[in-house]
């Protein structure tokens, strides 16, 4: 295992310190926690947006903390949901009196811990609402679907909605509408290694790839021979579009997300074919994002996310953001 780390037990704590040290003009670390929060939190009378989850998906989620997106992000151990007490601290610091929306990726651990934190927050008189992101079409059973890169669009749109002065319920509704309209699918060429375990998360043959893999290495749809960039793009798109059923003429946001060690060059090859296919299907591309948004340590692979837009979501997507990993 070749990693640039110190003692693996301290990795998350040190990473959070590193993030806070990098962007002091935007964010700070809540003392004695692994919570990154806007340096001006809480913003009075604005609905707070809190997300988080296991670490190893950077820039998710701390990179999305900043004016226009999240008010706070909680970092759990690598690939392990954060505990309720940490989440509670994030909720408290994010609450400016208008309540807090929790953006939760749909994993048992995340759901359980965020729900407990929400109960604790309610007990302290803070109103919370939640949205559970489950954009990964690789899982057939919809309630069990995992949350992957589509989560970033939820952060962006919920954050922008909160900035309009909307109520907690309105922000939650906007976030839920993103979830209803967003679909993703990923694929991997190589596994990744959790620092504390030192072992690969799964194994793939020299010439194999796995379609539909999860961002913690959860099993996907199919393992098969490594295909070309065009074929990979085509397969991901077919499965996403089959599930999404976007009417032709729909206006979309597109995200081509790198899982970790796949060079940006390769992401652009995938993007090239994705854009061709969208044109063929007469789907309009409103905006494209190519880069590492929701990673899986040093896993090689990518995911494709499509979000159907309406006028409101276009406006919210375009709204400014000062989050270090999503400046616009």
């Amino acid at each position: 295992m070749k990693k640039i780390i110190n003692n693996p037990d301290n990795t998350v704590q040190e990473m959070v310190q590193g993030i806070a040290a990098a962007y002091p003009e935007h964010v700070k670390q809540l003392p004695d926690t692994t919570v990154i929060t806007r340096s001006d939190a809480p913003v009075q009378n604005k609905v707070g947006i809190v997300s988080g989850g296991g670490s190893g998906h950077e820039p998710a989620h701390a990179g999305y903390v900043g004016k226009g997106m999240l008010d706070a992000a909680v970092a759990g151990e690598v690939f392990t949901s954060p505990a309720p007490d940490q989440i509670l601290e994030a909720i408290k610091v994010a609450d400016g009196g208008a309540g807090v929306l929790l953006v939760i990726k749909n994993y048992s651990g995340d759901v359980l811990n965020f729900e407990m934190a929400a109960e604790l927050a309610e007990a302290e008189g803070i109103q919370t609402a939640q949205v559970i992101v489950n954009d990964d079409v690789s899982v057939e059973n919809v309630p069990a679907r995992r949350g992957i890169a589509g989560t970033i669009f939820v952060h962006k749109i919920a954050g922008a909605m909160a900035d309009t002065g909307a109520t907690l319920e309105e922000v939650q509704t906007a976030a839920k509408e993103v979830v209803e309209n967003v679909r993703s699918l990923g694929m991997a060429l190589t596994p990744c290694i959790v620092p504390a375990s030192g072992k690969p998360s799964f194994e793939l043959g020299e010439n194999e790839m796995e379609i539909g893999i999860g961002i913690h290495g959860e099993p996907g749809i199919e393992r098969k021979e490594l295909a070309s960039a065009d074929e990979i793009a085509q397969e991901l798109m077919e499965k996403v579009l089959a599930d999404a059923d976007f009417p032709s003429g729909s206006s979309l946001a597109v995200m081509i997300n790198g899982l970790g060690s796949t060079p940006e060059m390769e992401l652009h090859l995938v993007n090239r074919r994705v854009q061709q296919l969208l044109r063929e299907k007469e789907l309009q591309v409103y905006k494209t994002f190519v880069g590492e948004y929701m990673t899986s340590l040093e896993m090689a692979g990518c995911s494709v996310t499509l979000l159907k837009l309406n006028d409101e979501r276009k406006k919210l997507l375009d709204a400014p953001s000062e989050a270090p990993a999503f400046r616009q």
């Binding site: 309720p84 940490q86 359980l112 729900e115 407990m116 069990a144």
Partner: protein
């Protein structure tokens, strides 16, 4: 059977030792049908419990259980953190204020704990989770005419082994669908260690 705060403390310390020894094994189980962190999570959590309990002397069983619950809740993370945390919290509440607990109290505590896991995890029996160890153990404790540590350990062990053939319906293992069969559930294994540790403590005392 009569357990005081010190005995519960001892139980938790021995659980910690067992978990540390089996950290790799638990992680390997989770590698097969999960994300390979269960041993790491539990080892981190129970080490924190051991450290926490060392900080003070406790008057009541319920206080030891409560600190155990809160520490697990805050240090384990993942799915197992809130589940083990909830289990011990319910146990603590079931024996609230008691300086000592007897076999009946213990049975009641474990029953409440099992129910807590089911509520929190929205989980049913036979879904291949830790509840498949807690429930049969609770049942055994309620049914036993007399508390028998070895028999409890055996019950927990068999229950854990039964999870091997189950197909997971909750947690990460559910993504493996039919392929989850053939492997022991990691949470069930760590739950077994918990009950085994108690049996070993009581066994030593004779």
């Amino acid at each position: 059977m009569e357990l005081n705060a010190a005995a519960i403390k001892q139980w938790m310390h021995h659980t910690n030792e067992t978990i540390q020894e089996n950290k790799e094994y638990l992680t390997d189980l989770d590698q097969k049908i999960g994300d390979g962190d269960h041993g790491i999570n539990m080892a981190r959590g129970f080490q924190a419990v051991a450290d926490k309990l060392n900080e003070q002397d406790y008057d009541t069983v319920s206080d030891v259980l409560k600190d155990t619950a809160m520490t697990l809740m805050s240090k384990v993370g993942g799915a197992s953190g809130p589940l083990f945390g909830t289990a011990f919290l319910r146990f603590s509440t079931a024996v609230k204020g008691q300086e000592t607990i007897n076999a009946t109290d213990f049975a009641k505590g474990i029953r409440e704990a099992a129910q807590g896991i089911m509520d929190r995890g929205k989980v049913q029996p036979e879904e291949k989770t830790l509840v498949d160890v807690w429930l049969p153990t609770a049942q055994y404790l309620e049914d036993a005419s007399e508390f028998d540590a070895e028999a409890m350990k055996q019950t927990a062990k068999e229950a854990m082994e039964k999870t091997k053939d189950m197909v997971a319906a909750k947690g990460r293992a559910a993504y493996f669908k039919e392929k989850s069969a053939g492997h022991i559930d990691p949470g069930a294994a760590s739950s077994y260690y918990l009950f085994a540790a108690l049996a070993e403590i009581l066994g030593e005392e004779g």
